[in-house]
Subunit: 596 residues, 2 copies
């Protein structure tokens, strides 16, 4: 086969190089791929392109969540590449998470040529629109053929630019491009890529790529006017910041904090909002203990105005509170235009750039925080204090949250798994001036792919430590993902496994109360020992003594200071953990009457 | 919430019980599920139904492939149940495999009610038709509500019957039913299911279920007439049996063997066809060494007639041969009506029942095997002999194939992984009278889910040993699946891992020749030691001495005789393995001129 294709005459290679170069020109810098045959032209081009860092995985599911983590941390599209068949299907869960969370991903799948499709050919499945409605755009690219007209090459270049721009659009998310290739897939050895530069097609040279740029969705005069009028007559207002995809820009964080200062509205900051940790908390009223603060009855009167940013908050009590008290003016500000209110109480949706919105509105109001606002902030502080006291008096799983937040250096990345860890961070990780970037997969809130997503963050930001806090079921679910640590030399990783032997979160559901089938069908204890997994992937492993506060803090400190990846497993008693959490809630509830 | 729902008044439970009872009435016997909240009504009903065996997994991907293996071994639909979100997406790869291989699966996914869909609600994704064109049917069931009319209940019953019948239809495959539920999801404790018997809805009692039965797609007189005439004038004919979904029925095997005897056409039997191993090989001309036999030049004249059953064969050389020699009359017989010829050389496609077809045609011809047929069979035997001699003279990975086939007791199940193991079984596992049931995932031929699929076979047939032969990358890909062994007490499992540290099959591709990027992009060595994985899942583990023939056979014999699951890892040198395989091919090629 190779004999038939002289250098540069295999159209597959020229095609692949054109696409890859187009993507790099658009801004692509990282590709995660798993080995395969049909994807050879694209894999070679990706690997050869000097503008791309390549991450080679063995499990496509892990690869896809790793890419998701990288995209979160780098705030730009990351591409995935797979061969044909179920390998491409393995990307689907991460694509769904990307779609729901607004994370830009490019799903590049190699496919068989038309004559092999639906014919019984090996490893050939229907890949056209294979991710259904879970991608922003899905394209079945043309089959590379010899002697293609210039327009076909130009189409490839614009396709690359458009795919990247759509993934990185106002509404960010996954874009799928399916690439059929006919054999031969290989170049003559050695492979000498030239990325289309010598091909002689029209439009080569500096100007050969198309670029797509976008303006800012600036709020109109009328929109701000309306809002400013509303805010000025209502002192009782909240700014609710839900999860923000990836790492919120510093500018946005400062704009929201400034809006809070100017309106006197306290900020209810989700741990994934970017608003909970950092210097801005020193002078903006950031509240974070709403898990216990907002449970009925709340120790302050209902707000009249709520301005919401980001996705629906992680905290169910907070969401229930907003639904229950039903503020008259609930306003959602989202540049993506994606609805985020499952109580259907939002009355005004402003599809505008969040940063521009905050700056414009902050420029139109300026008043001190009201007594009501002060009461809300004070109540938040009291709840927070009670929690800290309680955590000091009792030793249970939630104690690790303040210990982790204290141990992490400024600028560290904290990835909180679903479903218990992120809720624990939300409840027990109060605001602080030290900046910690919190990540999670809260688009679809799956327990799958969490290890890989966290490692993608670690790979994207090697100069900062990454701490992954994860439950045992989720850790088991993506054990394969640990392979990335040694493959990519991720020395900046510390994993804390909260092992309560099963699905601890189910203990919070009504089904936990008295149902005989609870343990068997929901809790699903597995009895797994994770020490061998650590050994298999060459990681330091410590089983922390669960009853001993100092032991965990010491192990954690040692792991963070030592260079090299480590796993700290903390075995806890889920029943006891949940009992104490409820006891804390009752204690706070009892004392609330003295708050106001 | 529980206070609001008295016994029997939670419509979710009644709804779930009706569906589950309907499925059981249709024939459902096994359900694989993973824990979740939204799926509570269905999980409780499934668990409570006396007609269902429940298998609870933690990783939905593993669960889905486990169900696939069970469906293969039991030859009937197996159901999957997941909660909402990416948990349901994790079924997608197994659904694709089921669709391509024709394995009946029921994908039951719990979903959120309409008001939470596309609203930003937690763990809520678009599940309507979420598997796209990779299922035979996809239904979004009605939301259970109080005071439903009888027709809604009857609809549920017919839905259950239809979903099962479509999955188990002429074209078998996956069927998806999405079930929205609104809270409360839980019954009053304790849960007392009655499966709709006491509800008082119309049509209760014995006659409440609908049944769907199907006739046999019998060949017409004219079809058989035409074929008989064709066969009678052509002595040079082959019967090519490709992969058959699950375990081919004994009746079908005997009918095909009888057709071969009556027509004098040798059977080229894929290892997954059900035709390669068993008593019938004693008196029917079964050939299996086509990997080397059919490579150019074949030591016999081209056939004039080829009658094909099943999917496209695993052997690429065989497919290339049939494409190259282009028999004048290529006939495909498939009751499913699904095309299976990627060379597009089939000229007559008979969508008829294979068994009935064979019996009808065999009743119309009767002649001894021709000289040509004898030459084909003899050539097959010679190639097989050369292979055995070669395997005795050289120690490389393929040697395990005859050793495994000799060690397995009659009636054993052998699951061969993708991509090297199944090809090795195909090439080196010649026909024998001892019946061994060979399974594989050759619908989409992915390397994902292989461990779980094999364990599903083991769970479905606990009275027979299950040997899984698997490569290291595929083993790594589904390590999670090993948890099923201890969870379900699968003592009948022996796993042989052929560890050549990476994607060994890529060595067969042109890209392996001289390309500098080969090892990095394709071979992807990982250096993993699987001993800790065995330890983690509580399995006996032996690292077989790779150079020592006796050692592996001894370890294998011990593992098969001892009750209890075991892993035998064989580390091999993939370069050397492939070099010797090529040397064998060259040796046989050289000697072929003396064959005819």
């Amino acid at each position: 086969m190779l004999a038939d294709s002289a250098a540069g005459t295999n159209p597959n290679l020229h095609f692949a190089e054109t696409v890859v170069d187009g993507l790099v020109n658009a801004g692509l810098r990282a590709v995660c791929l798993a080995p395969g045959s049909r994807s050879t032209p694209l894999a070679l081009a990706v690997d050869a392109h000097p503008g791309i860092e390549t991450f080679i995985h063995l499990d496509e599911r892990s690869a896809s969540f790793f890419a998701l983590g990288m995209a979160q941390a780098t705030d730009r599209p990351v591409a995935l590449l797979s061969t044909s068949g179920t390998a491409a299907v393995e990307f689907h869960a991460a694509a769904v998470e990307a779609m729901m969370a607004g994370i830009p991903l490019l799903l590049l799948t190699a496919d068989r040529p038309p004559e092999l499709r639906d014919s019984g050919a090996n490893q050939t499945i229907d890949q056209v629109k294979m991710y259904g409605d879970h991608v922003l755009w899905s394209v079945d690219a043309a089959l590379p053929e010899g002697g293609q007209p210039d327009v076909a090459i130009r189409n490839l270049r614009t396709l690359a630019a458009r795919a990247y721009a759509i993934a990185d659009g106002l509404r960010r998310g996954p874009v799928h491009v399916n690439f059929p290739f006919r054999k031969p897939l290989e170049p003559p050895a050695p492979y000498r890529p030239d990325f289309g530069r010598s091909e002689g097609h029209e439009g080569l040279g500096e100007a050969r790529h198309s670029s797509i740029s976008r303006g800012i969705l600036a709020p109109t005069e009328e929109q701000i006017e309306e809002l400013a009028a509303l805010v000025s007559v209502h002192e009782r207002g909240l700014i609710v910041c839900g999860p923000w995809p990836g790492r919120a820009a510093r500018g946005l964080v400062e704009s929201v904090a400034e809006l809070a200062r100017r309106t006197g509205y306290p900020i209810f900051a989700d741990p994934l909002s970017g608003l909970r940790y950092g210097q801005h908390t020193a002078c903006a009223p950031v509240v974070a203990s709403f898990e216990n603060l907002t449970q009925h009855p709340a120790p302050f009167d209902r707000p009249e105005v709520v301005i919401r940013f980001g996705a629906v908050p992680t905290s169910k009590p907070l969401n229930d509170y907003l639904d229950r008290v039903a503020p008259t003016h609930q306003i959602l500000v989202r540049s993506s235009g994606v609805w985020a209110d499952d109580s259907h109480r939002v009355r005004r949706f402003f599809q505008v750039d969040e940063d521009a919105f905050c700056r414009a509105l902050a420029g139109r109001v300026d008043r001190p925080i009201s007594d009501w606002g002060k009461a809300v902030v004070a109540a938040g502080r009291r709840v927070s204090c009670r929690q800290i006291q309680f955590l000091q008096q009792h030793r249970f799983d939630a104690c690790v949250i303040p210990e982790i937040l204290e141990s992490l250096p400024a600028g560290a990345n904290l990835f909180a798994g679903n479903s218990l860890p992120i809720r624990h961070v939300d409840q027990f990780g109060g605001p602080m001036r030290k900046q910690v970037h919190v990540f999670g997969n809260r688009g679809a809130s799956g327990i799958d792919g969490v290890v890989s997503s966290a490692l993608g963050v670690a790979a994207a930001d090697r100069s900062s430590p990454l701490l992954l806090l994860i439950g045992d079921v989720s850790f088991y679910h993506d054990l394969n993902g640990l392979l990335a640590i040694s493959r990519f030399g991720l020395d900046n990783v510390t994993i804390v496994v909260l092992n309560n032997d099963g699905g601890g979160l189910f203990r919070r559901l009504p089904v936990a109360d008295g149902l005989g089938q609870f343990e068997r069908l929901f809790l699903t204890p597995h009895g797994l020992d994770f020490a061998p997994a650590a050994k298999m992937y060459g990681l330091d492993y410590v089983l922390a003594a669960s009853g001993d506060r100092d032991s965990f803090a010491r192990d954690l400190g040692a792991a963070l200071q030592r260079s090299g990846p480590a796993i700290i497993e903390l075995r806890t008693d889920g029943d006891r953990d949940e009992r104490l959490r409820r006891e804390l809630a009752a204690t706070i509830q009892d004392s609330k009457e003295n708050f106001s």
